[in-house]
Amino acid sequence: MKVILNEKDIKKIISNLVKKIIKKYKNLNKFGIIGIHTNGVYLAKRIAEKIEKSKKKKIDIGFLDITFYRDDIGYRQNIQSPKETEINFDLNNKDILLVDDVIYTGRTIRAAIEQILEIGRPKSISVAVLIDRGLRELPIYAEFVGKKIKTKPNQQVEILLREANLEGDKVIIYSK
């Protein structure tokens, strides 16, 4: 097991991500953030809070659970307990930033996009992640990436965030 990012690194990465996000989205009235359960929700909240602080403006935020949109149901890999999707703002004609902790195969983001398009018709959807570990299986692209790392499929990248982890923020990598 190896710690690749500590609390300080993660704080800096999120600050940099927020800077890039603010730079791109000029009209925050037509902007919304959606976090993917569970770590994506924590990160989305942190990002929204930072934007609100810097721009003094309330940001629309929603939470997405992609369990029912997975493409591996019945194969019994990684089945998680479904959580509630909560998007209480109008998605139509908004620029949506989808937030998750790691981008890997691209299948989670694919499922999230499918679900968002069933709820409404945003003007655009972009993706922000803390870690891009490569090894994409679908043509999916993350525009905002905190840190890119090279990994192998037999490795596990785990993001521990203080909202659910007593020891604070940490990113570790280990072989399965």
Partner: protein, 317 residues
């Protein structure tokens, strides 16, 4: 946190066979499904490509429609076999009919049958997942689950609630599924009805359940009253003197409602005989959650189909 991995059943035959934790997993899973109903697109792609056969040997509106909507909202395909227009009329046996559906690769068979245990026979003879939609006097597990879900949604808990099951307990599969589920979740269950309609020796199976023949006594301080339908199709004429007398002694009306707690919930599995087991003013009162039961039924059945679909290779009953 409940973990869906702990639910490893392939079939849903009755609440008797589920643990407390497994029941809670179904209730929790139904919540995000219910949330979908507020969207304009109420459908998710979860069971795309799977097929659900609805095999009903007894009449039904809400259960069959509810299962069909649940399957469709999960993007599964559904086929309806109504016995009156099927080969059953030519004398085909239950197992042969089910084997035909299995050969057509139905992933799920939802069965309602007048014989207790019919779903169990299917589970032993075909490879599809079997869901019991009511078998004889035995169980109606999804009805039990939706009743419990509705109570928990309104009251926030099940444990220590006083729940009265009122009416024809003897012929009621709804009562039996409620009994299994509610006692596993530690509610205080009271059975009330004419002595002829309370199954003899039921206290041997459910030792913690109270039996009370007097309605006023039974519903005193009740948190929930689940009123059962008088089942005229099951030859009741010999079991109580008259419908009028039943209504006088065991019918739920506005006056009697005052005996229970102010915020008592009134449940009824439907279809109602208005004016017999329940008066119209009670059925349409603010205490009544009868319509919410129907909405919740679709969410519960979606949760059941979803959870069973994770375990199509399991051999557990």
């Amino acid at each position: 946190m409940l973990n869906v991995k702990k639910f490893n059943h392939k079939h849903l035959l009755g609440l008797e066979y589920l643990s407390k934790e497994e029941i809670e997993i179904i209730l929790e899973t139904a919540k995000p499904f219910k949330k979908l109903f507020t969207r304009s697109i109420k459908k998710v792609p979860t069971l795309r490509g799977r097929s659900v056969a609805l095999l009903f040997y007894e009449p039904s509106t809400r259960t069959r429609t509810s299962f069909e909507l649940a399957a469709k909202r999960l993007s599964a395909d559904t086929v309806n076999i109504t016995v009156q227009t099927s080969s059953v009329q030519k004398g085909e046996s239950l197992i042969d009919t089910a084997k035909t559906l299995e050969a057509m690769k139905a992933d799920f068979i939802v069965i309602r049958h007048f014989y207790s245990g019919a779903p169990h026979i299917l589970a032993q003879n075909v490879s599809s997942s079997i869901i019991n939609a009511g078998d004889g006097f035995h169980e109606h597990p999804t009805q039990g689950l939706l009743d419990i879900f509705t109570i928990k949604e309104k009251k926030g808990k099940i444990k220590d609630l006083k729940v009265v099951i009122l009416g024809d307990i003897l012929h009621s599969r709804v009562a039996r599924s409620n009994l299994w589920g509610l006692t596993k979740l530690q509610a205080n269950v009271v059975l009330c009805g004419p002595p002829t309609l309370i199954p003899p020796e039921i206290e041997k199976i459910f030792p913690n359940v109270e039996i009370e023949y007097n309605l006023e006594k039974a519903i005193k301080n009740a948190d929930v009253i689940n009123i059962l339908r008088v089942q005229f199709e099951r030859q009741l004429e010999h079991l109580f003197p008259s419908v009028r007398e039943y209504s006088l002694l065991y019918g739920m009306n506005k006056e009697r409602l005052k005996i229970a707690k102010d915020d008592v919930l009134i449940l009824h599995p439907g279809p109602m005989n208005r004016g017999i087991e329940i008066t119209t003013d009670v059925a349409d009162s603010l205490n009544s959650v009868i319509n919410q039961q129907v909405t919740n039924g679709v969410a519960i059945r979606m949760a059941v189909l979803y959870l069973l679909s994770l375990n199509t290779t399991s051999t557990k009953l």
